[in-house]
């Protein structure tokens, strides 16, 4: 009798500890593959970084810190050296060495028939030199300061496990052998990813024995699952429910400024623009956005604080440049444009548009937080300074293809600065379009500023950090004082957890199990 009681107690206790050390997370977007190099998309990368690990880690504010590499340094202008951590084992017990790094760096370019997107991190490397099993050097054709950042975004594979594997072998777990804090237990497509703690992990031990990432892409269902206690932690609280979630005593809320800036591209590079008309509906003679006064007028006409308060339910921060405070290249003196409708009207009159003009704003309707409502709010604000504004929003799949053909006059875009520094948005969004140099691939404004281009090019070839930061700040300031784009706001990343669970919020929108812990 007594023994039975004890047994029952022991069982109950063990059941409790087991459940106390398990974590169930509701993810907001689909993870498509366990092969970490098939698709460079945030949900896939988030899981991959936990299973495979990277040479360089990013802290919650995307500052770099040692990962599978203990340290890194510039040997000369075109050579980087990474010192690998000693004694690190892959999940299958084999040793992690420079061979694995060399293999990983080669792999993205060899994958066939996939969108990939990881060659952007590896193609600067022209030669790999394995100095010893724990030292590897990367040679580049020209000075390449962003190498450590790139290495923080490339999941490292075990050569032994991956070299003859197909993507299906990764999905089944056979080839998904990494050196990250968790190992893959099971991947059920469209449903869940089950992980278990890597007991041999080199870093701080995770609090969770087992972690289940459930793919709950519907906002309402994800929140319901949290409310019912089916999951312990969710990412992306639907903004309309944020106040309710915050007031709920059973839940904890965690927020941080994201690295994603929402802005408008204004078609300022061409003489004719497709969606600006005069008040009678006839196409205008010349493109008003070529005039910096018109661009400034639009920026002044927008009440960013109102968008933040009313449309974004407080879950945004007015923006005046590409990267938020604390990121490399942030310009402290460059603030968000203040709301000044009178000033906007005056500028429009000066530029020869005292009665304004007619404009269609374009934006996606399923991509960013409340994207459609943001475009509508901006349209109303522009109408108040005399620009009769129409709104057309499209599903992202349709929108993106048209935007890349320069089909719009004013187009909303959001840019997550995954690199944590300013050269990336400057180069992608406002550097003069130049396919040969790989500049301006998303410069839908077709903005062109030779001086800014020169500064950026110089920055991209400057390995010295303080010098590079100064150049980036100069370039940013030059472009934004010229209103190359119209910044609106930075999104805020949100997480909600049941009482008893704490999450360290991250600017890079990643949901890492090891960033969660019991209270």
């Amino acid at each position: 009798m007594h023994r039975n009681c004890l047994l029952a107690l022991a069982l109950a206790a063990s059941a409790l500890t087991a459940s106390a050390a398990d974590l169930v997370v509701g993810m907001g977007a689909d993870v498509t593959s366990m092969d970490p190099h098939v698709l460079n998309a945030a949900p896939n990368n988030s899981i991959a970084e936990q299973v495979f690990g990277t040479l360089v880690n990013r802290d919650p504010r995307q500052r770099l810190e040692p990962g599978l590499a203990e340290s890194w340094r510039v040997v000369d202008e075109t050579t980087w050296e990474f010192k690998l951590r000693r004694g690190v084992k892959f999940h299958d017990g084999s040793d992690f060495t420079a061979e694995d790094v060399a293999y990983t760096v080669e792999r993205p370019a060899t994958l066939k028939g996939v969108p990939g997107g990881f060659t952007v991190f590896t193609r600067a490397i022209v030669e790999k030199i394995i100095v010893d099993p724990h030292t590897i050097r990367f040679k580049t054709a020209k000075p390449y300061p962003n190498m450590p950042i790139d290495m923080s975004l490339l999941p490292i594979l075990s050569k032994k496990a991956a070299q003859n594997a197909t993507s299906a072998d990764f999905d089944s777990g056979k080839a998904a052998i990494g050196a990250g804090p968790y190992r893959l237990v099971r991947f059920t497509k469209g449903d869940r990813i089950e992980l278990a703690r890597n007991e041999a992990y080199w870093g701080p031990k995770s609090a969770w024995d087992r972690v289940t990432f459930r793919l709950l892409t519907n906002d309402a269902s994800r929140l319901a699952a949290l409310l019912a206690g089916d999951v312990h932690l969710i990412e992306v609280i639907p903004p309309q429910d944020f106040a309710k979630v915050k007031a709920n005593k059973d839940l904890n809320v965690f927020t941080i400024s994201s690295n994603r800036m929402i802005f408008f591209h204004l078609d300022s590079g061409r003489d004719k623009t497709p969606f600006v008309f005069d008040k009678s509906g006839k196409p205008v003679e010349k493109n008003p956005f070529k005039d910096v006064r018109v661009r400034r007028a639009l920026s002044k006409a927008i009440n960013r604080q109102a968008i933040v308060d009313r449309v974004m339910e407080g879950l945004a921060i007015p923006a005046g440049q590409f990267v938020p405070e604390g990121f490399f290249g942030y310009v402290p003196t460059l603030k968000a444009e203040s709301y000044d409708p009178d000033g906007a009207r005056k500028l429009l009159a000066e530029a020869g548009y005292p009665d304004g003009f007619t404009l269609t704003l374009h934006g996606p309707n399923n991509r960013y937080v409340n994207d459609e409502q943001v475009v509508q709010a901006v349209a109303q604000m522009l109408a108040r300074v005399g620009i009769a504004t129409r709104v057309e929003t499209l599903p992202f799949s349709v929108y993106m293809t048209r935007a890349r053909k320069y089909d719009f006059s004013a187009a909303l875009l959001g840019w997550g600065v995954s690199t944590g520094e300013a050269s990336y948005p400057l180069g992608s969004l406002i550097a003069t379009v130049d396919a040969k140099k790989g500049m301006g691939p998303f410069n839908w404004s077709q903005y062109s500023n030779q001086k800014m281009d020169a500064l950026l090019e110089q920055a991209l070839a400057t390995v010295d950090n303080p010098k590079r930061e100064k150049l980036l700040q100069e370039a940013t300031e030059m472009a934004l004082r010229d209103h190359a784009v119209i910044p609106l706001h930075y999104q805020v990343n949100t997480w909600a957890a049941r009482k008893g669970y704490v999450y360290t919020p991250r600017t890079d929108e990643r949901t890492f199990a090891h960033a969660a812990r019991p209270q």
Partner: protein
């Protein structure tokens, strides 16, 4: 019979061909998959590389030709985002959807036909009227809203059932089935009910109308005059005669339940094909979209065929011939 089946198959091949062409052109018209799939950090060269890697740099007719020659050898292409054959991806997810659809259909039939009969036999009673009023609700409330309400009531407030997801599965003959465990049943109950609601209402109305019509027929009056019990008249004569439209509807609706479980699967995070289709449309994963729709068309053709054969069993007057198709 054989001629009929062969002719049907030939027609289906034609339908499949037209369908693939439509979907191909349709997805092409929406947008370029590379624009969605490419990482923002890519530059022009990387975008060009990815476009070529997916074969999207070639003219549309050549892309279609490549697809068609693959399809004839049974290869419907690989998913852009998962890098596995599209058909595998769909067949992997199919059991979950079929299980959900079957459960929903069982709920609809088991509840719908008796309730419809009852409403048909006693149209003026309060029971009959309540059933009809309920069926109107089932018709008119959007699945999306009902699903969320079910979750809010039974999972969040009462805490009886899990909010989302599929329960643990048991492998039976190589298929993963979740309705064999208690936890699995708990998981499927809400989504299946949600999916069944519309079909349930449909069956109630269909059965009721059929019953009322049959009751006024001469053979029923004759059977009653002969002194048969009401129970026997309903169970044997009425039920058998109203079965033809019901079988038609159940057969065809089963197809639509499978094909359009999308909303329910999305709300309940049910890992079936419908959710796969939505995710694939969002990423313009063309091989999966095309393969999915081809499989669904094939399914409809097959179900039609089964319905036709069932007719002959239920009503000996129906003869399948080459002319009737």
């Amino acid at each position: 019979m054989l001629a009929f089946a062969l002719r049907r198959l030939a027609q289906s091949a034609g339908v499949l061909f037209v369908m693939s062409l439509l979907v191909f052109v349709g997805v092409y018209a929406i947008g370029n998959p590379v624009d969605i799939l490419i990482n923002p950090q890519a530059d022009q060269a990387e975008i060009a590389r990815a476009t070529a890697a997916l074969g999207l740099d070639q003219p549309l007719w050549r892309q279609y030709w490549n697809f068609l020659s693959g399809a004839l050898t049974g290869d419907l292409g690989r998913s852009f985002v998962a890098n596995v054959p599209a058909v595998h991806l769909i067949l992997d997810r199919m059991p979950a959807t079929v299980e959900l659809a079957l459960t929903a259909m069982v709920i609809a039939i088991v509840l719908g036909i008796p309730l419809g009969l009852l409403a048909g036999l006693k149209p003026e009673s309060w029971v009959g009227k309540t059933i009809m009023a309920g069926s109107i609700l089932g018709f008119s409330l959007p699945t999306f809203w009902v699903g969320l309400m079910l979750i809010m009531i039974f999972s969040v407030h009462l805490g009886w059932l899990p909010t989302t997801g599929r329960g643990p599965t048991v492998e039976v003959l190589g298929l993963h089935v979740s309705v064999l465990t208690w936890d699995g049943i708990r998981h499927i109950l809400l989504p299946a009910t949600n999916l069944a609601l519309f079909k349930l209402s449909l069956l109630i109305r269909l059965t009721r109308a059929g019953t009322r019509e049959a009751l006024s027929q001469d053979y029923v009056r004759f059977a009653r005059a002969k002194g048969l019990s009401m129970r026997r008249v309903v169970a044997v004569h009425v039920l058998k005669n109203i079965m033809i439209p019901i079988v038609t509807v159940v057969g065809l609706e089963f197809g639509s339940v499978i094909a359009f479980a999308i909303v329910t699967e999305t709300i309940f995070a049910w890992p079936g094909m419908g959710k796969l289709l939505i995710d694939s449309i969002n990423t313009l994963d063309r091989p999966v979209i095309v393969a999915y729709l081809l499989i669904i068309v094939f399914l409809f053709v097959l179900l039609n065929l089964i319905v036709d054969f069932t007719y002959t069993l239920l009503d000996p007057r129906v003869r399948l011939s080459g002319a009737r198709s």
